[in-house]
């Protein structure tokens, strides 16, 4: 039980290595289960115990996610969920692949379906070929979404080797080259229970749920886990393309800028620096500051202005993007603003208000089963407890922000322009 937020949480590692996190939400009917492997599009290379580099095709994690839903009789696992009235789905990001369902009925059947289909891959050459047409249409759907494509091009400008340069789904060529063997190899290495986390946020009793999970897992045997470690990409510190322009059938020009930063290996240090940098960004670029309002008043940006920052193990970035007709002016303004963020005075009152907003936002997150489950799983992946992370946030001081900005090198920068045809 976490008394501060009245959340009843149970953490358990099963004998096969599967990490289980159960949250009992009093007064709720529904349950949300999330089964996560920390294998996403960012891990298209891994290193085996004997030092061999294992290479996966671009988009393979996403292709595998599609094919996991194939039942052993050739049918579709989604049908099994639907027949008991349960909505299920999955997604692949750069950092992980997740399978999940939400139900307001008894959790036992869908939970067993989830555990069973994610823990067994049964595919045929024919079904893999058939899936290619579907995935190609998915890639085309995202490719014609201007904002998604635009952000992707900023990453493609920043990175030379790192998989962030590619779309999560790969490209049409990489998808069309996938074989049954590629998928089995990828599955064997990345879906062992020891690597995976199961999070369930539910109105149902946690002890009951744990028994269902243990009952399911006790019947299964798994081969020894394939021990792999992260691959160190030979990513240069400089950006791949300093300036890039492309066109789409749109009516409003877009301008974006990306600053390439170094990654941070230690997860706890990274977590703190990541929050500190995000707070700095909020202090300068949210409506807590007058800067963005001034740019709106001068019609340099509109409501599409977005900013983001992130530190990973082997990457880091700050990006900005907006619809604009005044890209040169915006470039100049952003350049001055980001230098001010590094060198300017930090306003303590604004810092305090942003800290409170973020604390509130973390408390709100516990209302949303899907986001709560995701936050718990992600926190576990990086080795920081979710509730501990709220306490860390409370403890962050202006000194931490000073600390993080000292390390930021703004010299590796690129910009991208998307224009009308």
């Amino acid at each position: 039980m976490n008394n501060t937020y009245n959340e009843k949480i149970m953490y358990k590692t099963l004998s096969n290595g599967l990490h289980v996190i159960l949250v009992n939400k009093k007064g709720y009917t529904k349950s949300h289960a999330l089964f996560m492997t920390p294998f996403g599009a960012m891990k298209n290379k891994l290193v085996s115990e004997n030092g061999d580099v294992l290479t996966f095709k671009s988009g393979l994690a996403h292709f595998l996610e599609h094919k996991m839903f194939e039942a052993d009789n050739g049918g579709d696992v989604m049908d099994e969920f639907s027949k008991i009235g349960v909505s299920a789905n999955a997604y692949t990001s750069y950092n992980e692949t997740c399978y999940y369902f939400t139900t307001s009925y008894d959790i036992e059947k869908p939970l067993n379906i989830l555990l069973d289909f994610v823990q067994e891959l049964t595919i045929t050459e024919e079904s893999v070929e058939k899936e290619k047409g579907i995935i190609v249409q998915e890639l085309r759907m995202y490719k014609q979404m201007a904002d998604m494509r635009f952000v992707q091009e900023i990453f493609a400008s920043m990175y030379e080797e790192h998989p962030l340069k590619d779309d999560v789904g790969g490209d049409e060529d990489s998808v069309n080259s996938v074989t049954v063997d590629d998928l089995y190899d990828c599955y064997r290495i990345n879906y062992h229970p020891q690597n995976m986390t199961l999070v369930i946020v539910s109105g149902e009793d946690s002890e009951k749920i744990l028994k269902i999970i243990e009952g399911n897992q006790d019947l299964k045997n798994f081969p020894d886990v394939v021990k792999v470690s992260d691959y160190d990409y030979k990513e240069p510190t400089t950006v791949k393309r300093e300036h890039y322009e492309f066109k789409m059938d749109i009516n409003q020009k877009r301008y974006g800028i990306g600053y390439k930063l170094n990654g941070i290996v230690d997860p706890k240090v990274r977590f703190k620096k990541d929050i500190s940098l995000k707070m700095l960004m909020e202090m300068y670029f949210s409506s807590s500051n007058t800067l963005v309002q001034e740019w709106l008043d001068e019609r340099i940006i509109n409501d599409s202005f977005v900013y983001d920052s992130e530190y990973g193990r082997d990457y880091g970035f700050i990006i900005f993007a907006s619809e604009t007709d005044k890209e040169d002016v915006l470039k100049d303004k952003l350049d001055k603003a980001i230098n001010e963020l590094i060198n300017g005075e930090l306003d303590e009152a604004v810092f305090e208000s942003i800290k409170r907003r973020l604390i509130g936002s973390n408390i709100r997150l516990m209302n949303r089963f899907e986001d709560f489950a995701m936050a718990l799983a992600k926190a576990r992946n990086i080795g920081v407890d979710f509730f501990e992370s709220i306490e860390l946030l409370k403890d962050i001081s202006l000194k931490d922000l000073e600390e993080v900005r000292k390390d930021i090198d703004l010299s590796n920068v690129c910009d991208v322009i998307l224009s009308e045809l």
Partner: protein, 419 residues
């Protein structure tokens, strides 16, 4: 749960719940939807929650919200059949977790946003605020057009709903936004506080008596109207087929039907279930036939516009497969009419009920469900709705599918750089 009316006929509903970490208030103003007034109302919604007389800059308002652990305040506009909904929402961390006087702060904030806008002595909105909101509204319209799937759906709705309120966009057109004046927005503001039907729903962990006593200190509007209609007449025209071309990577194909069934009709739940069977889920005929068996697309679905009585089907495909996909969609409707849907119907009932139960376990889902019941005058609770869904027969589903009139198709064709 408690329901009562204020002296000015504002409908109040209080739901006591301590399962959320936040307290929530929704204030809904509904006016008759009008193409001429749509843009002014959308602009109004954007301005009211951006800054106020007490917080004359967005920074000052943001700092106040942030210092209170991120109180949320939003105002959006939607079409609600023949009604135009102006929807004010606030939420704040419950006093159970942070001593914040959450309910009173939200009620005061709604007063500030609704009754204390940044206007001059003649009631005209601040110049800078007005021009900024206009620029942003124009950007929103452009952005919708830049997204091919959204653009195609907007065009299809205009095509199928030609001559009716179904074709009206709540954002308005670029020309309408350009032509907006501060006087028009002042009129829209007057209508909101004098001519709308107003419903307030509150979810709080506090006892209902305490919430009622707090709420009664506020008025939410000066006057209200009970004569706002959300249903409208629609004359079915001959089926149409239109095609447009853009330099995009995928073709959007949209087919439309009209059912004439409203959510107050007995057949409504049969229509919702028919939609799930046709294209509303991964077990649906469209998903299975078009995506899974023929690999023609990634995204395919059908959807019902509940209050308007329209149904549309969408698929993102290669243009060469357009005719094949459209035929499959029409054939599926004919197939469902033959009635071999026993298994699909049972699945659809389970899925629909699960979705309602799941939504009701969130504050926004609860607010939406209760409002829908109130505005329709049905006042059914969740159990009653689930009983009605469970009682739908196969014959009723076949009957509603037989009542679907085909309206035509709209295609947004992809053209590659090589063509």
């Amino acid at each position: 749960m408690r329901k009562f009316k204020l002296e000015n006929n504002v409908n109040i509903q209080i739901i006591k719940s301590d399962k959320f970490k936040t307290d929530h208030i929704a204030v809904r103003y509904v006016l008759d939807l009008s193409a001429k007034k749509a843009s002014a109302r959308s602009l109004l919604a954007m301005m009211l929650t951006n800054r106020t007389a007490k917080y004359p800059t967005n920074k000052e308002l943001t700092n106040y919200l942030d210092m209170n652990y991120g109180i949320n305040v939003f105002m959006n506009t939607y079409s609600l059949g023949g009604g135009h909904l102006l929807d004010v929402r606030t939420s704040a961390i419950s006093d159970l977790y942070i001593e914040n006087d959450s309910l009173n702060k939200q009620l005061d904030l709604i007063d500030e946003v609704v009754f204390n806008p940044l206007v001059d002595s003649e009631g005209l909105f601040d110049d800078e605020l007005f021009e900024e909101a206009k620029m942003i509204l124009l950007s929103k319209i452009t952005r919708r057009n830049d997204d091919p799937a959204t653009y195609a759906m907007d065009k299809a709705c205009k095509l199928f709903g030609k001559g009716s309120l179904f074709s009206v966009s709540v954002l308005g057109s670029e020309e309408q936004v350009q032509a907006l004046t501060k006087e028009m927005v002042k009129d829209a503001y007057y209508d909101m506080l004098h001519k709308a039907r107003v419903d307030v729903t509150i979810i709080s962990s506090l006892p209902e008596d305490e919430v009622e006593s707090c709420v009664r200190k506020h008025k939410f509007a000066y006057e209200t109207s009970d004569n706002v209609g959300i249903f409208y007449d629609y004359k079915i025209n001959d089926a149409v087929s239109e095609e447009e071309t853009r330099r995009i990577d995928q073709t959007s194909l949209i087919l439309g039907w009209y059912s004439g069934i409203k959510p107050i009709d007995d057949e409504y739940y049969a229509l919702k279930l028919a939609n799930i069977i046709i294209g509303g889920d991964s077990t649906s005929f469209m998903f299975q036939e078009i995506r899974e068996k023929n690999s023609l697309c990634y995204n395919v679905y059908s959807s019902v516009f509940s209050i308007d009585g329209f149904m549309v089907a969408y698929a993102g495909i290669s243009y060469e497969n357009k005719d094949k996909t459209a035929k499959m969609m029409r054939d599926i409707i004919e197939e469902v009419k033959k009635g071999e849907i026993d298994e699909q119907l049972e699945t659809a009932k389970l899925l629909y009920c699960n979705s309602l139960l799941t939504q009701y376990d969130s504050a926004s889902g609860m607010l939406n469900f209760e409002y829908q019941q109130n505005i329709l005058g049905l006042h059914r609770n969740l159990d009653e709705v689930i009983d009605r869904i469970s009682a739908v027969t196969k014959e009723q589903v076949i009957d509603v599918v037989n009542r679907l009139t085909y309206l035509g198709e709209f295609t947004l064709k992809e053209v590659n750089d090589n063509e």
